[in-house]
């Protein structure tokens, strides 16, 4: 006879409410795990989007994400000719505020050369950019739809394609323009500012500037060899894709990542305390029944089984409700919430461990109860 199940059945409404409360708490923990993962994934999305092997940036910098980087556009040709390089493309990155449907839209503008590395390759709707000017591919999170027109700088761009989950480390959705349009947006001065510069006698600067050159390698080429060669020949700073990703996760989003990680750890501790209190209270309410069981001869393992099974049931149902809740609401978060099976399994194990440890308090109280408590009124 499963005493734990029967006790749960007897107090089903209260047990379900308790599970719901615990489920909400675990949903918050899972959300934090998802936000933590999302932060890392978001940080890597833009670097992974061009599907390249090597990043070549301004000497002495670790651009273009961790630091500012400006290099002449003609270096792309030089990089493309390096041994082991299959293709190279120039890219620019900048954030911009645009007006859209009466509101402000913050976007991460990526400039690329159509037909070369740097272009978005996983369109979910529409087509790639084919015109030289005034077309853009946008991330769905911008809220833009195919055919929409967006004003950036002094020009209007038509949305011809859509991508998903292309955001920068700050969560701003990306829009892709041709390199020429992006350079104009980034380096062209507005007429009044240009007039001021001319009046100062400043020399006009070349607009044909990139933030980085990205390169795809032949399958048998080593990214480290190409990086070494580019550094030695053109004095460019180079980062392999792996180095770029490490830089982003260890440096750019590290503080935010640790902040969320710490908050997540605190939430786990709070959950553990709440679970322990719930289990302790549930046990204390059953002390007379437990005393009766001991009096009629129930061994300790029966008493321990009763408490631990209820603890695990509570944790299991609460965890299930938490997962369900997060699955339903995760897409409504302003930033990406990434929940992987592996994370859920680890949290499930943590919850199971916490339940077993927490039930220790209840087990201790139950084992200490004197069977004679059951005698008399």
């Amino acid at each position: 006879m499963n005493l734990a199940f029967r006790d749960v059945r007897h107090n089903l409404f209260r047990f379900v409410l308790t599970c719901l409360g615990l489920g909400l708490l675990l949903a918050v923990v899972l959300s934090m795990v998802g936000i933590y993962n999302g932060l890392v994934v978001d940080a890597l999305t833009i670097t992974r989007a061009p599907r390249v092997d090597v990043w070549l940036v301004e000497p002495g910098t670790k651009g273009p994400f961790a630091e500012a980087s400006r290099i002449p556009a003609e270096l792309r040709e030089a990089v493309a000719r390096l041994h082991g390089v299959a293709a190279a493309g120039g890219v620019t990155y900048q954030t911009a505020e645009a007006e859209f449907v009466g509101g402000s839209l913050r976007v991460y503008v990526v400039g690329f050369e159509p037909g070369r590395p740097g272009a978005p390759e996983d369109l979910v709707a529409g087509r790639p950019i084919v015109a030289s000017h005034y077309e853009l591919v946008a991330d769905r999170r911008t809220g833009l739809a195919l055919g929409d027109r967006l004003r950036l700088g002094r020009n209007r761009f038509e949305v011809v394609g859509l991508v998903e989950n292309h955001v920068n480390s700050g969560g701003d959705p990306a829009v892709y323009l041709t390199l020429r349009d992006a350079q104009t947006l980034q380096f062209d001065l507005a007429p009044p500012a240009a007039r001021v510069q001319r009046a100062r006698g400043a020399l006009p600067q070349s607009q044909d500037t990139l933030n980085a050159v990205v390169a795809r390698l032949h399958p048998d080429a080593s990214p480290e060899d190409v990086a070494r060669s580019a550094h030695g020949w053109k004095h460019l700073s180079t980062l392999t894709q792996a180095e770029q990703e490490t830089l982003l996760t260890k440096s750019v989003v590290d503080r935010a990542r640790r902040q969320i990680g710490l908050f997540m750890a605190i939430l786990l501790v709070v959950s553990a305390v709440v679970i322990a209190l719930i289990l302790y209270t549930m046990t204390m309410e059953k002390l007379r029944s437990i005393a009766t069981l001991k009096l009629i001869g129930a061994p300790d393992r029966t008493i321990i089984g009763l408490i631990v099974q209820q603890a695990l049931t509570l944790g299991g149902v609460g965890f299930g409700l938490g997962v369900l809740l997060v699955s339903v609401v995760k897409d409504h978060f302003p930033r990406r919430v990434v929940l992987e099976t592996e994370n859920a399994l680890v949290l499930a194990l943590i919850v199971a461990g916490v339940c077993i440890l927490s039930s220790g308090l209840g087990v201790r109280a139950a084992l200490a109860v004197d069977p004679s408590t059951a005698l008399g009124g």
Binding site: L295, D370, A374, L375, G376
Partner: protein, 257 residues
């Protein structure tokens, strides 16, 4: 060691128990000699604090005596220390408990409340359920076998509790105020039932009670005062003490006399 007569189910020899030490020491039981035979129904009487519940707890192997010897169902279980490590098993197999407020497990229905004791003794769930239904039927409460304790009347709940106490065929039934929560008619019915079942199972009953209306259902009434048995009440063969008029002898006592 001289073997015990098989019908001496409970035998206490110079059992003592105290609580606290020094000035705070309270002698709960002093030099208790008691013998109860199978089929015998014994009442423990005494004012509050006289040691009745402590004596019941000692016989139920819940409280360890300070000294003395105790035999239960022919087995020496205490001789200055417990001689068995598995006292709960001993209780499960040899002792049945009936409480004032029946103490049924609130989350189990009547059948399960009885079956749980049988299952704890190592029987299969099916066998336990069959035994529980058989006992409930015998106690004429099988029509309420699916009811939770909260939905049982006082008499029904006490019958279920008795069924649980008898579930494993104990040789000793310890009852703590078994009829205190019942009216006089139901109290008489419950005691008659206990007597009948004890006789059927060849068990003895030791009950703590203050319920005068059921005194005539006992074979012997033992009076405790300040942790000591009243003179002459200890041994089974000792003559019955002259009871106060309210402790009128039962018909069985009268016949024995």
């Amino acid at each position: 060691m001289q073997p015990l007569a098989p019908d001496r189910v409970v035998l206490l020899e110079r059992i003592a128990k105290h609580f606290g030490e020094g000035e705070a020491r309270v002698n709960a039981l002093s030099e208790i000699d008691l013998e109860v035979r199978s089929g015998e129904v014994v009442a423990l009487l005494g004012p509050s604090g006289s040691g009745k519940t402590t004596l019941l707890n000692v016989i139920g192997c819940i409280v360890e005596p300070a000294s003395g010897r105790m035999h239960l169902d022919g087995e020496l279980v205490y001789d200055g220390r417990w001689l068995r490590g598995d006292l709960r098993r001993l209780r499960l197999e040899k002792i049945g408990f009936v409480f004032q407020f029946h103490n049924l497990l609130p989350f189990l229905d009547a059948t399960e409340n009885v079956a749980v004791a049988v299952e704890l003794a190592g029987h299969s769930p099916d066998a336990a359920r069959r035994r529980a239904i058989e006992l409930l039927d015998h106690l004429e409460v099988s029509h309420r076998r699916d009811a939770l304790p909260a939905r049982l009347s006082g008499g029904e709940a006490q019958r279920v509790a008795i069924a649980r106490a008898l579930a494993n065929g104990p040789r000793i039934i310890l009852a703590d105020e078994p009829t205190a929560a019942l009216d006089s008619k139901r109290a008489g019915i419950v005691m008659d039932l206990l007597r009948r079942l004890a006789a059927e199972q060849d068990a003895c009953i030791i009950a703590v009670t203050h319920d005068e209306k059921i005194f005539d259902r006992f074979d012997r009434i033992i009076h405790l005062r300040d942790g000591r048995l009243d003179s002459g009440a200890n041994g089974h063969d000792a003559p019955q003490p002259a009871l106060p008029s309210r402790f009128a002898p039962s018909p069985k006592d009268a016949a024995r006399a």
